[in-house]
């Protein structure tokens, strides 16, 4: 093992009511890694992130996050969930939502202080949402909400950022800015981003893994059609999208 391992998963097994969700997952993520995980819906991508967060207990295997069990490293991990299921008229402002990300640095019964507010201001500025700080969260567009949730993940100054399908609600006009943000962030922290959108993931990440209950990880950015077909359990054609900057992977 090395000190620079941000995440280490060793032989992780997870099942829901005896349906396997993850089988024998092994994964090492190092500092400043930007790992993209792709795979079909229901392939266990969100479950994998929840294992790293300690929200799901694996049946078997060992999880280490920043050298500790996940529950003890939570305050060093930023998490952007796939969709937030809050009601649109929930009475909370963008500012207050971002402040929630400071909980890990503040703790039970303590009030948020000046450093917390300063961090919230910086995080909102970084995602370009400072002007919307006082808006009610439900009144924002999907893409704006997503940026607010990214700010909430960043405000705790994490060493690991977990993004669950971040492209789902980011509109295409915002995509480039979003990728630039991620490119900047990876200088400061390790990032794991899961997506079912192969095109979206492959451009900016450094490493790609494919997940469909089992993990096909080759530590490089190149996905072969064989890996994709093993992941999706059917023949797959790689399609390049024209609207975003992209890189054509291996001939197939």
């Amino acid at each position: 093992m090395s000190d620079s391992d941000v995440v280490r998963l060793e032989h992780i097994w997870v099942s829901y009511n005896s349906t396997p969700a993850l089988e024998d997952i092994n994964l090492h993520v190092k500092e400043h890694d930007f790992l993209g995980i792709i795979g079909p819906n229901g392939g266990g991508k969100s479950t994998l992130l929840k294992v790293i967060l300690g929200l799901v207990q694996p049946d078997k295997g060992m999880v280490t996050v920043l050298g500790n069990p996940p529950a003890r490293s939570r305050y060093k991990v930023g998490y952007v969930p796939q969709t937030s299921r809050f009601s649109v008229d929930f009475p909370v402002s963008v500012w207050d939502v971002v402040m929630m990300g400071r909980y890990g640095k503040t703790g039970l019964l303590k009030k948020y202080g000046k450093p917390d507010r300063e961090a919230a201001r910086k995080a909102l500025e970084r995602v370009g949402m400072l002007d919307h700080a006082s808006a009610q969260i439900g009144a924002l567009s999907g893409g704006q909400q997503q940026r607010a949730f990214i700010a909430r993940a960043l405000v705790g100054e994490p060493r690991l950022l977990l993004l669950d399908e971040p492209m789902a609600s980011v509109d295409s006009a915002m995509q480039t800015g979003f990728y630039e943000l991620l490119a900047n962030l990876k200088k400061e922290m390790a990032i794991i981003m899961v997506s079912h959108d192969i095109g979206a993931v492959s451009v900016f990440v450094d490493k790609i893994a494919c997940l469909n209950v089992q993990l096909y990880y080759h530590g490089s950015k190149e996905i072969t059609p064989e890996i994709l077909e093993a992941t999706y359990k059917c023949p797959v054609q790689l399609i390049a999208h024209g609207e975003i900057p992209h890189r054509v992977l291996k001939e197939h």
């Binding site: 991990v77 009475p91 402002s93 990300g101 909980y103 439900g138």
Partner: protein, 274 residues
Amino acid sequence: MLEAFQFEFMRNALLAGLLASIACGIVGVYVVVKKIVSMSGSIAHASFGGIGLGYLLKFSPVLGAMLFALLSALTMGLVTRKTKLPEDTATGILWALGMALGVIFIGLSAGYAPDLMSYLFGNILTVPASDLYLMMALDIVILGIVVAFYKEFLLLSFDEEFGTAVGMPVNGLYLLLLCMVALTVVVLIRVVGMILVIAMLTFPAALARQFTHDMKKMMLLAVVFGMIFTMGGLWLSYALNLASGATIILLSGLVLMLSYILSAVFKKVKPERA
């Protein structure tokens, strides 16, 4: 109306209404935004077991109600968090069990159960001074908890999963929230009765939600609405010689419905917000 306040019972009634509004306005906001309305209804009804136990063992039915409300809040919280029993099933079971126990206890207690109706449907005109002190103490406890745990309860209500992910003890806080609901039930029981408690926990907060997107303002507004409803209902029940608890609920229900209708009409006229 003014001459009515020469009577001590009228002044007590007014004070009871004001004290009840504080608890139901603040806790009601959490009940509404956290969507635990039916769970709160269950806690309220289960408290009937405690009222019965009070009659049977000859201690204060209000204290019995507090005991049962707290016990059922803790049971409900633990069962829904630690077992696979669906939330609405647990809600239904506890609701009925508490009521059944109450009926059995009252049946076993010798003779006639005085002011049973006032516990069921409330009678703001007969609130004794001792209960006013209890209500005041519970208001202070509830206020203290909310001030201390404001940021925790906000995160708990908004996004529990994220709360867990940042290391907040969500299950413990959830139990605490349900216990606050239990205490609020006790505060309200004398005013509107345990059967109608759920309305006072919901209506003022739901109405306040129509006017603000700030949780603190929503609480403040809900308290003010609660006060208007209890005082208005009290006056109406006095003027029309109707049951006070039910009049308070009907008045607040009518206002709430009216506000929904008006806002639906208003939204049709105004362009949709982006």
